[in-house]
Symmetry: C2
Subunit: 458 residues, 2 copies
């Protein structure tokens, strides 16, 4: 089909929506390294994980062989409220850049959580409800995950306790109110409500907080209460599994119009959006059916893939979670108050880490002011004010499109636009006022945080 006929936005019909998630691990010859029990150094068992996570989610976390997993009807019903997400042809951006490249983005921001996070939140809430639990606990960075989970819990009438990274809690007060509107309780982290929070506050009273630290508090809150489990918005393989609805919808839409991306780009914090977007494409790559350039984009202030080490590490600052082999800066890494709160995590999904280690994808770090410059340009021509996190992918996509302009190549670029920036206006204000800075950790800082890596699993 000629490109002339490709609409601005491709919406799949309800019948075309994916009915199964895709488990990319099934197609990986070398699987991600197993999670280890931090006490014994042995692979964690389903029983051990069952104290922290819902049973069905433990099963998904450990399943490395089933390629397709049915999406339950109740979840499909909820998906239909806000999906399909449109695949957008960025005609206006292409024109503004005067590039021969064809740019597409999968826009996940058209829901009240403002991002792709809802895709996994509703799945995790569903399995918690099915198991008869009272409620769930979680951490949130920018607040997108917490908002998504509060929406999902409200839908299934589950209690929802959110530990929100302190800097985001202060920078994004309105996200708190959205969570409260959906009935969730929100606590700034670190807090005095948990043992691990007290310990961290005693040691670092002025800390901005971090995702790793908020995870520890949420895990403690879940395991110390009857009828609660912990749920996580990124990093874990179960989350990447749920997020494959992004990539599966994208692939179906592209196939329908006979579009083949040359380059696939996504921002990467814990890796859930990128992992979900690329999954079916990576599957083809792993099976030798097609090839794609895949680029993970991370903030220069928190460069786990580009400057981290591939090693077993704690997922949380409190060191209560299983150890995961991943690209990491060390769980002791305290990221600066980068406005892209959702990308301030010291590690990376074990699936993406392994794929990156095998050379199946690239990684790139970009600086904050350049990211906001790209965000503003994008907002003005495409009419969507992007989230700071998503704007990392925009920046890389624009750079690739400008390379095409130099070389004259009409490559097809696909990127994930994970969400909107409506709750990030302090960050935009800082940019508008010329008060935004860039921060890149020194080698010495990274060396110090690598020292926090566990001896186990080395």
């Amino acid at each position: 089909m000629s490109n002339e006929k490709i609409p601005y936005k491709i919406y799949l019909s309800e019948e075309e929506l994916p009915k199964q998630w895709y488990n990319v691990r099934a197609d990986m010859k070398k699987k991600p390294a197993p999670l280890l029990n931090p006490g014994t150094g042995m692979p964690v068992t389903a029983e051990e994980l069952g104290h922290v996570f819902c049973d069905e989610l433990v099963k998904q976390e450990l399943d490395e062989t089933t390629p397709y997993i049915d999406i339950p009807e109740e979840i499909l019903g909820f998906y239909k409220m806000y999906r399909p997400a449109p695949l957008v042809r960025a005609y206006c951006l292409e024109k503004a850049l005067d590039t021969p490249a064809k740019i597409y983005y999968k826009f996940e921001g058209n829901n009240t959580s403002g991002s792709h996070k809802l895709n996994s939140a509703i799945a995790q809430a569903y399995y918690a409800k099915k198991q008869g639990l009272k409620g769930v606990t979680t951490e949130t960075g920018a607040g997108q995950w917490g908002t998504a989970l509060s929406m999902a819990c409200s839908y299934f009438d589950l209690d929802c306790k959110v530990y929100m990274v302190k800097v985001s809690y202060e920078q994004k007060p309105f996200r708190r109110e959205v969570m409260r509107t959906y009935g969730a309780s929100v606590t700034p982290s670190p807090s005095m409500t948990t043992e691990v929070g007290k310990k961290i506050l005693t040691e670092f009273p002025d800390t901005n907080g971090s995702l790793g630290c908020a995870i520890s508090e949420a895990v403690e809150a879940a395991t110390s209460q009857e009828g609660y489990r912990y749920v996580l918005g990124s990093v874990l393989s179960q989350v990447l599994l749920h997020q494959t609805v992004i990539g599966l919808e994208t692939k179906t839409a592209m196939d329908k119009y006979d579009i083949k991306p040359d380059i696939i780009i996504g921002c990467a914090g814990g890796g859930s959006n990128l992992g979900g977007l690329i999954a079916p494409f990576m599957g083809e790559k792993l099976r030798g059916e097609a090839d794609y350039r895949i680029i993970a984009v991370e903030p220069a202030s928190c460069p786990s893939l580009t400057r981290g080490v591939y090693a077993y590490d704690f997922c949380d600052t409190g060191k209560v979670c299983p150890l995961q082999k991943m690209y990491t800066l060390g769980s002791g890494f305290m990221p600066s108050a980068n406005h892209a709160g959702g990308l301030r995590y010291h590690g990376m999904s074990s699936i993406l880490s392994e794929l990156y280690d095998q050379g199946l994808m690239e990684a790139r770090a970009v600086e904050q002011t350049a990211v906001f410059e790209a965000a503003q340009k994008f907002a003005r021509v495409e009419g969507i004010l992007p989230a700071p996190e998503s704007s990392h992918a925009i920046k890389a996509a624009v750079d690739e499109a400008l390379k095409c302009k130099e070389t004259g190549e009409d490559k097809t670029i696909l990127f994930g636009l994970t969400g909107t920036g409506y709750f990030d206006m302090y960050a935009y204000a800082a940019y508008n006022d010329g008060k935004m800075g860039d921060y890149i950790p020194t080698d010495e800082e990274l060396r110090r945080s690598f020292d926090t890596l566990p001896k186990i699993g080395k």
Copy 2:
């Protein structure tokens, strides 16, 4: 077609999008009364209006006979970036209410302006650009119109000066930043930058501001600068014309699935959303082809249709605009700081006023806390956090659906969900904290503001 087959969301294809706006005045036997020159008391001429508005928009304002007006290609191109807006079947709300009614809503919030306002903003910016102007001025209440206009002006590279009602400027600081991100300048109104602003501030130093007052300032700013014209986000017939894309899309989508609404509901401030939504249905009603119950919902704090008088009045507090015959509370009416900033206007579109006067539609006033109760219920089951303005329509739709539950009737209810409440979290916080009040003007207050009606045109 059976209701079983109706998807959660109906999206039209690009080819199905309307290519013409519909001018409902062409089908009205008794037309709205003409605009009057406040000095002479005679109908305003195109030349007089041309000092304030762009030429093409003046033509549209005065055209009472052409039923369909072509949408220029450039505007269609922009529409394709964020339209079609989905027509949603509110399956989850129906279930939560346990009603036999079938509820549909046309959701206009999936764009960065957060509302339907963009539909007219892009049209007005286009005609200003086409006329070779430097820029435009406007007022904004809740900030949705200002945001929409800043997006439209950025797209066509026009200067954009926004006078924002003071109470909204303070309650919604983030909307300012969105406008700034799109390159607009934003001034709280009343301000000392205009003569009329100075006068009002001298007389009422503690005023919260009002739309009528901000209009006066914006008109003065436009007419006192070379190359500028004033644009308005509601009330005017040209705006209702552009907003008919809402109703035309809705009608096409409903016809496609053989759905006929029994009741059509919209919130009404100046009337642009309601006028746009109902236009093609009202056209059928005027031509005797079909019948519908049509309900305008307004805040009890600013009840122009339900408690106002049908008379010639000033559109603005500064009394510089033409006089319009409309349902009005008097231009001296100072609404309370109701959180639904977009509904705090003393008058109503002359088209809707005339239709209401002819008994072709109903009106209903609802109180703020009841509106937020409906908003929260809707958010929790339908997954969209609605704007306070839109929630007035939700409240009325819920009430009608509950009546159906009582009577057992399976009526089809359509309402306009004009936008999202992401920038209204102070209002939601007040509701969450139980600190929201209701305000209903006394008869004595209304009598005093009716005294501000002009003698002319009576």
